[in-house]
Structures are given as structure tokens and as C-alpha cells.
Symmetry: C2
Subunit: 284 residues, 2 copies
């Protein structure tokens, strides 16, 4: 459950690993990143802990809770449009202008290696596993963990799960080419990005299958995690379980050890709790 991770998502693993490897000069000038939320917080927190200046390019439709947390870790926000390409362009522009080091969301060895420690921890807890379900957005989490999982359990099947409404990786692996993610309209906001050449290459080699889940299946899985396991998981974090449930219904498992990576738990609960605060005034 990466929802229990600091910043509430797996992204801290990669950001921390990447920032720790900067040169003194790079640390002095500062870093920049683009992200809809979780990578933003990860870079902001890692930078704060290491005393490095961070600027984050975020889309205007990023969840408010993630924007607030990023600011809370002392990062500066640079606003970009909602298309993933917008914030990438802004990030490159500002990096060129101020000399900031770009910390990519997933297309870098240090980020991928950091993310892959999830599979290592699963292995340390349950020893061998037969299936690993992992969400795929930009592909950093999936790349790192498919490499780690295949290294630890060579027979394990790595199943990537992607929202139907942002299925660029599914189509890309099927067709053997890298597709952009154009106006991906899924509730799983952390998975709206497309693969990168590096992650596309790793995933093509390491992942056994990519399956897609629809919006209802994602929300059903999220609801199950909240209501039955009592854990707060964001839509993107529930995608792997949605895939696991779909697989169980369609193909079933035979006494196999199955793991799913719950990738994050950052949900905007402002409205939910405002309702509770409003109740105080009246009678229950």
C-alpha cells in the first residue's frame, strides 16, 4: 500500500533516489519537475529534506489537495494547461531559463530504480509471488517493478493495468509503437500520462500482459478498499485491484500468490469533511 508512503504515493521513492545523486552544483541551483500531483509532492519533499530549491509545473486541473501539499513542502508552483504536453514544455522552458535540473516523472534510471523497491518489499513480506498487478501511467512504477519482480521471481506474471480511457500503453504495446495520451478523460488522474521511450522499451520486454479497466471498475475497486479494507486509496491507486478483480472473474486464480501495487492515497476530502463540520450546527 503506497498510500501509506510519505506524500501518500510511491513517487517519493524515485524522487529521493534521483535527488540524492545530484552534483553539488545541481543542488545549489535547484530542480524542476512537471506533474499532476504525486511526483510534484515527491520532488518537493525530497528537495525540502535535502535543502534544494524546487519548482513544479502543474496543470490547472490538478487536485487541490496535491497542489496544497506541494506548496506545503516549500516548492514554487508554475501553472500550465491541462494537456500533459503543456507542463512538459513549460518545464523545459524554465529549466533552460534558470539552469534548473529536470527531475523527470519516470523516464530516468534513478526514478525507475527507486520505484522498483516496492516489488522488493512485497518479496520480503510474502516471499515468492505468482502474479503482480501494477498500474501504468508514465510507466516508471511498472518499469522498475517489472524488472525487480522478474529478477526476484522469474516465473511471476507481471500484469499491467490501465484505465480504458487512457489506454495509450495498451495500444502501444499491442501495436509496437509509442502513442501519445491525447485528452485522457479518466478519474485515475495519476495515470493520464503516456509512456516514455525508456519505459516503453522496458515494458515491452518485461511485462506479460496489459489489461484495461473501465471507470466503474476503478470506482468499484476503490469503494471496496475504503469500505472493506478501511484504507484511503485514490482512483489511480485502485486501478491495479480493479484489474486483479477483473482477472479473477474472467480467468480465475489457482492457489496462486497474487500481489497488487496500490500506488497512492491522495484524495481531496475537503467537501467530505466540510459536510461533517456543517453537521455540528444542527442535530444529528
Amino acid at each position: 500500500g503506497e498510500n501509506f508512503q510519505r506524500i501518500g504515493a510511491f513517487k517519493f521513492r524515485g524522487a529521493c533516489n534521483a535527488l540524492a545523486q545530484l552534483t553539488e552544483e545541481e543542488k545549489r541551483i535547484g530542480v524542476i519537475a512537471h506533474s499532476s500531483g504525486n511526483h510534484a509532492q515527491a520532488v518537493a519533499l525530497a528537495a525540502q529534506l535535502l535543502g534544494i530549491k524546487a519548482t513544479i509545473c502543474m496543470p490547472e486541473n490538478a487536485p487541490a489537495v496535491k497542489v496544497e501539499a506541494t506548496k506545503g513542502y516549500g516548492a514554487e508552483i508554475a501553472w500550465a494547461g491541462n494537456d500533459p504536453a503543456d507542463r512538459e514544455k513549460l518545464c523545459e522552458k524554465l529549466a533552460a531559463q534558470y539552469g534548473y535540473k529536470i527531475i523527470p516523472p519516470c523516464a530516468a534510471d534513478e526514478i525507475i530504480a527507486g520505484a522498483g523497491t516496492v516489488a522488493l518489499e512485497i518479496y520480503q513480506q510474502i516471499n515468492v509471488f505468482d502474479f503482480l498487478f501494477c498500474p501504468v501511467g508514465g510507466g516508471g512504477l511498472l518499469s522498475g517493478n517489472s524488472i525487480a519482480a522478474k529478477g526476484l521471481c522469474p516465473k511471476a506474471k507481471i500484469i499491467a493495468v490501465e484505465p480504458e480511457r487512457a489506454d495509450d500503453a495498451f495500444r502501444g504495446i499491442r501495436d509496437g509503437k509509442l502513442y501519445p495520451s491525447i485528452d485522457p478523460d479518466t478519474i485515475a488522474d495519476g495515470l493520464r500520462t503516456s509512456l516514455y521511450p525508456l519505459t516503453f522499451k522496458i515494458i515491452s520486454k518485461q511485462v506479460d500482459q496489459i489489461i484495461t479497466v473501465n471507470e466503474k471498475e476503478i470506482i468499484d475497486a476503490m469503494k471496496f478498499l475504503w469500505e472493506r479494507l478501511k484504507i484511503v486509496v485514490e482512483p489511480s491507486g485502485a486501478v491495479s485491484l480493479a484489474g486483479l478483480i477483473k482477472w479473477a472473474k474472467q480467468k480465475g486464480f489457482q492457489n496462486e500468490k497474487v500481489a497488487a501495487i496500490i500506488s497512492g492515497g491522495n484524495v481531496d476530502l475537503t467537501d467530505f469533511f466540510n459536510k461533517y463540520y456543517q453537521l455540528i450546527e444542527g442535530k444529528y
Copy 2:
């Protein structure tokens, strides 16, 4: 975190212990209980597992999610008014009519002993503790755990935490008499009941202090648990942490080991998830 317990609350511990000790004749006829929700589910599930018929007297304002879960475990619901006394009376009436064995919510040795295993598990995990914060409603959880905690860590301070708006235990222990809980209007629905003669007696002897928390403090603590620890906790379950935070602000701790019992995680999330399902139709 008793929110992770089966039925989502500590009550399964006591119900299971109580039902396991019934005679064969009592098991054949069936059991009855009265509860606003968590004890209802606990008795229903324990009865289902042991193949015993269960009838539960519930108030009309019980949270829908708890009513549905109770029905889901195969119990029959008998509806009573919202005053705690109403369902007690109905329970006694039906028990007399059909010969059912009453499984009290907390005023019985087996229930109290079962509940007290929480402190034992905390002790097994963190060894010695200096403070144990525990919510108080009917007093079963507090009675069992104050006995267990004092037995395991004689120097530990047991601090009971009660909603200001249902402060019958606070006033009762202060004045040395048992007060009824009249129209308790707190969001912490699991703590609206008053103490029983048995729990009053145990608490008077074992508990170091009772403190109260207001509605805002309860919701603040609940929000912290959801947003920061990413766990789903019901208002009653957050009361102990609300007390701990208040204590930390007013008196502070000095390198002491502090534990708080999070007593349950049953929250009605229907509206919350309906909003997500409605989003599917539009654009995010």
C-alpha cells in the same frame, strides 16, 4: 486500529467470546442484542459463523451501512426508537417472548474480557506503554482494556475520552453515580450509550482520568486519520485520538510511549461514492 477488525470495529472480540460460551440449548434457540450498529454486526457475524439465529434491535437512526451489514450477516432486524432505552426494552420483551439469550453490548464479563484483548495486542507490539487513550460509550471496551492494561503495565495511565455532548461517564465518575445518557447528540454514534452498573464499577476503579472532546475536535482527529494516515475511521473511533491531541496540547508528553485505541471504521460512504459514479457520465 480496530477499524481493520472484521465488521470494522472492536465489538467482534466480545461477541465472539460470549457466543462461544453459550450452552447447546441456548445456541439452538438463538440470541438477541440491541445496538446502534457495531455490536449488531458483531453478534450477527459471530452467530452466522457458529450457525446460531440472531435478532438485533436497532434504532431507526442507525447508520444505513451498519444496518445493511447486519442484515448481510443473516440477522433479523427489530426496529426500535432512537432513545437507547427503547431498544433495550424491545430486546428484553422479545427475549422473554421467544426465549432468546440476550448478548449485552458491554455489561458482561465475557464481552469485557474479549474487548480487553486490544490492550494485550498493543502490549505485544510496543511492549510497555505509559498512556492508553480509550473511548468510552457503554464502557465495555474501556473496562476490558483498563483491566488488561493495568495488569500488563501497572504504571500506565488509562485516559478515557468521551464526547462532550454525551458526557454521562465524565459526570458519573466525577459525582460517583451512574447517570443515564439522555438524548446524546454527538456525531460519535457508537458512544451515545451510558455506562452500565458493571462498567461503572470497573471504570471507577481502573481509569485514571476521563476527559471530554467537542464535536470539532472529534472531526479534526478523524480528518487527520483519513488524510494523513490514510485510514478510514468512524467518528467514534477518532475520539481517543482527539483526546490524545488535546492532552498533547494542554499537558504535553515527555518521551512517553502513548497508545490510542481506534475503535471502529464503519462510515456510510454511499453518498461519497455516488458522486464518483455520477462523474463517469460527464468530463472530469
